[in-house]
């Protein structure tokens, strides 16, 4: 019974695959838990820092602070793409890469020169394959990014913007809305545009001067935006992977059910045939 044995082999192989996807789902679930905690924990700092920068910010400061400069014309822009180091996360990486490609195409069609900074193996592999010029590529940021990681990612770009080498910096990363919803978004990191409140400004005692304060806090503000992108991306990756692996596990279950049924049918058919043969043989002897 060749058919039956083949089906049996497929059942074994699907079972093994399901074991793997289920384990990956469990791993992603536990990592997701930690990652969402980090996203949540990072929020108060981001909000408070934004509030402080906003209360110090005034549009006319742009002349004195290189980090606040407002280029008249967009000549050269940096695109920073955050992807995961690992695949098997559904459309997570593909969506991010598509978003980055759209942004690059849009910028180029407007005659803007672009530079590409990549974080995560998946984005690097894609753009390297396409033969794009890559300004920097990093794969050393793991599942638990730290503010120091963010600092090391953004420091060169911050200097490039302040020095006038680039006129804009875009971050392409995923926004962590929930474990199920992690859409890719583009954030404009530079030029900095804090929303200014028109409501009566409070006059603060500033120590040291407002200039020194801004000078110190702007880099932290920028770094924090990148840190946020990193933690949200890490959480998004785990969320997408969990969903993808859950679907894979469920599909394997469905497939097993169908295969088992066809295996049973094949076995039963063989038994029935054997009985028919025996009965036929016995009848022939009479």
């Amino acid at each position: 019974m060749a058919g039956g044995r083949d089906v049996k082999r497929r059942i074994k192989s699907v079972e093994n695959t399901r074991k793997i996807t289920r384990t990956m789902e469990l791993v992603a679930t536990s990592k997701l838990k930690r990652a969402t905690d980090r996203v949540r924990a990072a929020r108060p700092y981001a909000e408070a820092l934004e509030e402080i920068v906003r209360s110090l910010y005034a549009p006319e400061l742009s002349e004195r602070f290189p980090l606040l400069r407002r280029p008249e014309k967009l000549r050269r822009a940096a695109v920073v793409l955050f992807t995961a180091n690992r695949g098997l996360a559904g459309g997570f990486n593909a969506n991010l890469i598509r978003e980055a490609r759209n942004l690059l195409e849009r910028l180029r069609s407007e005659g803007v020169e672009t530079r590409l900074d990549l974080i995560g193996k998946k984005g690097i592999a894609y753009f390297r394959f396409r033969g794009e010029e890559i300004a920097s590529a990093r794969t050393d940021i793991g599942d638990n990014p730290t503010p120091e990681d963010a600092e090391s990612v953004i420091a060169p770009l911050r200097d490039a913007f302040a020095g006038g080498e680039v006129d804009a910096v875009y971050l392409v990363s995923s926004e962590f809305r929930s474990a199920m919803s992690t859409p890719p978004i583009v954030r404009e990191l530079f030029p900095i545009k804090p929303e200014t409140e028109s409501a009566g400004p409070v006059s603060y005692i500033l120590s040291p001067s407002g200039d020194v304060l801004l000078d110190r806090l702007l880099p932290a503000y920028v770094r924090n935006a990148v840190y946020r992108a990193l933690v949200e991306n890490a959480a998004g990756e785990q969320g997408s992977r969990r969903t993808a692996m859950k679907n894979a596990t469920d599909n394997a279950g469905d497939m097993l059910e169908r295969l088992t049924r066809s295996y049973n049918r094949a076995r039963q058919a063989q038994i029935t045939q054997e009985i028919a043969e025996i009965v036929g043989g016995a009848a022939a002897l009479e």
Partner: protein, 114 residues
């Protein structure tokens, strides 16, 4: 009439470290320790490195060692943003520190000459 307690939040980039009411706060500003009582004028100041003491409304107090950051006081709300907060000095100053100990000295020197 101002209320008699401060609402204090201490947050680092990675987590919210402390949140609660306080009768007074003593923070290590870049140019020396600064005490904050309810009704303090709005203030934004850089933090140096040192102990942050939060005295609870019913006695009791909490101390953290903070390394660099910024403090904001507005309407009895005290927000402390710091690069590091722990029970003792950090093993190493975070690379992303807003104000390293050397910066503090530099600023102080500038303040005296200017």
């Amino acid at each position: 009439m101002s209320e008699k307690t401060l609402r204090v939040r201490v947050v680092s980039a990675e987590e919210a470290v402390y949140e609660g009411d306080a009768a007074s706060v003593v923070a290590p500003a870049w140019d020396g320790r600064v005490g904050i009582l309810p009704g303090h004028a709005p203030m934004i100041a850089l933090l140096g490195h040192g102990e942050l003491a939060i005295d609870g409304p019913d006695g009791g107090s909490e101390t953290f060692y903070v390394a660099a950051g910024v403090i904001k006081v507005e309407g009895n709300e005290v927000t402390v943003l710091t690069e590091y907060a722990g029970s003792g000095p950090p093993a190493e100053i975070p690379a992303a520190a807003i104000l390293s100990p050397e910066d503090v000295e530099e600023l102080a020197a500038e303040g005296q000459s200017g």
